[in-house]
């Protein structure tokens, strides 16, 4: 009785069993190699992405006029992170924001709520119950508030950071952290030229209603920003995700509370 592997290899190459055997064998070995590499390298890749996002946040702070001086004055070198209960808008002291992943939390039924079609402007289906916000305060007054937002674009989930000024109405900056939109069209939301239009835009009306719009063919009002040519769906997605996150199902309750009571 010969070794079964040898017997298999000794079959003629045009034999059906051998053809199937070789095909399955090659596929299995390749799959194993690919998954091993993917799993082993995942932590390093995640660290790269996290470092890049931290660098984007730093870059956003750098482009805000006077923000670095203010931070120097108040003696902090990074923004303060607080967890927010999105339903009530209350801060959750004692909840650790480190390692909290909004997208992962939105997948878990225990840490998220389902959205109805009318609520779900950002097309995200579920919204986490908590979210981290980043803020800068001086003598108890809020100076800058940074909100992480996300939504479904044309071909990917778009993640961004929206910085609001102390009046809680005006955009200080918008930075896109992550997207996989069409290169050359929707992906231009990553470009500094496009993001540079955001500072000064009126995101919310005085009563706290989100009014920000991404429009075609020339923004004329204070609450409008030019969309991207050839990327209508991506431009709309940005508008809707901002309206969602600034609205009553997003950070609305927290913004109302901050407007009424301060920090």
């Amino acid at each position: 009785m010969a070794n079964p592997i040898r017997a298999f290899l000794n079959r003629p190459n045009d034999d059906t069993a051998k053809t199937f055997g070789v095909a399955i064998g090659v596929a299995l070995v390749s799959a194993l190699v690919v998954s091993t590499a993917s799993v082993l390298l995942k932590p390093i890749q995640d660290a790269n992405i996290a470092a890049e996002q931290a660098a984007r946040m730093e870059a956003m702070l750098d482009q805000l006029p006077g923000m670095r001086d203010l931070m120097m004055e108040t003696g902090v070198d990074a923004l303060e992170t607080r967890m927010v209960d999105l339903a009530t808008g209350a801060f959750l002291p004692g909840t650790d924001a480190a390692g909290f992943d909004m997208l992962a939390a939105a997948q878990d039924p225990e840490t998220s709520v389902a959205l109805t079609t009318e609520q779900d402007l950002a097309s995200i289906k579920r919204r986490p119950t908590m979210a981290p916000v980043y803020l800068l305060q001086k003598d108890g007054d809020l100076m800058l508030l940074v909100l992480p937002v996300h939504g479904t674009g044309y071909a990917s989930t778009i993640r961004a950071m929206l910085a609001l000024e102390a009046d809680l109405q005006t955009v200080a900056a918008l930075t896109v952290l992550e997207q996989g939109e069409t290169p050359g069209l929707g992906a231009r939301i990553m470009e500094p030229d496009w993001q540079a239009q955001w500072p000064g835009t009126l995101a919310l009306a005085e009563d706290g209603t989100p009014v920000v719009e991404v429009v075609k063919g020339g923004a004329t009002e204070a609450w409008q920003v030019d969309g991207l040519t050839g990327a209508t769906r991506t431009s709309n997605a940005i508008q809707f995700l901002l309206q969602f996150w600034l609205g009553p199902d997003g950070y609305g309750p927290m913004l109302d509370r901050l407007r009424a009571e301060g920090l």
Binding site: N13, K18, V22, A23, V26, S30, A37, L41, Q45, N48
Partner: protein, 218 residues
């Protein structure tokens, strides 16, 4: 043919890009700067060497009816591994290379060497052939990448070499060099130069116009 010849022959005499005109697409796309050209060169050479040796080792057992798909599966697996490694250890460069690392799978060069050489030769010569062709490809990429970055931006590997007008120097960057057509021009000039020096590479003219055909008709 000796192993060293297998390794050096594809550098100029039998260069995959300038003689066989393979792998042009990626040669155009990744040569806007020297660093992307270098990373792509290393990635392709590794994939080509590894795929050649693996395919050559199991060549006797690859059924002819499914040989192409077996080759592609092996090449694709190697490319994904390389891409993952780049994303882990060379994140910035991997973002610039974006889809072109993934497109090594469809690079005619890789499948071409697997099908033409590794399927019929023992592992060691196949490895030498794979790496040799990878180096031939790399050589052209590096030449094109160097010229394009130097003339297009006045830098090499991001280091300023020619002081540009913007920074108070004398060099006016040629914007065209950063665009794809310039890679065609440089490749064309390279092919011309190489075929003028090694005239045996020139292809025979397929047809000639009859002399004075116009006058005869009149």
């Amino acid at each position: 043919m000796k192993l060293t010849e297998r390794l050096t022959d594809p550098l100029i005499r039998n260069n995959p890009i300038t003689l066989q005109i393979l792998g042009i697409c990626s040669a155009l796309a990744v040569t806007t700067s020297l660093s992307t050209a270098l990373t792509m060169s290393v990635a392709l050479t590794v994939v080509l060497g590894a795929s050649s040796i693996i395919i050559s080792t199991i060549r006797a057992h690859i059924p002819g009816s499914i040989r192409l798909i077996v080759q592609i599966t092996i090449i694709a697996a190697l490319v994904i591994v390389i891409d993952e490694i780049l994303q882990a250890f060379a994140y910035e460069t991997s973002k610039q290379l974006s889809i072109f690392v993934g497109l090594i799978v469809t690079n005619c060069l890789v499948l071409g060497r697997a099908e033409a050489f590794a399927m019929h030769n023992p592992p060691l010569p196949s490895l030498a052939d794979g790496i040799g062709n990878g180096l031939g490809y790399s050589l052209i990429l590096i030449v094109v990448g160097t010229l394009r970055e130097l003339l297009g931006k006045g830098t090499l590997l991001g280091q300023p070499i020619l002081p540009t007008v913007e920074t108070g120097g004398w060099f006016e960057p040629l914007g065209l060099m950063s665009l794809a057509p310039s890679a065609f021009f440089i490749l064309g000039l390279l092919v011309w130069a190489i075929r003028s020096r090694w005239t045996d590479q020139s292809e025979a003219v397929e047809y000639r116009l009859k002399p004075d055909a116009g006058r005869a008709a009149r």
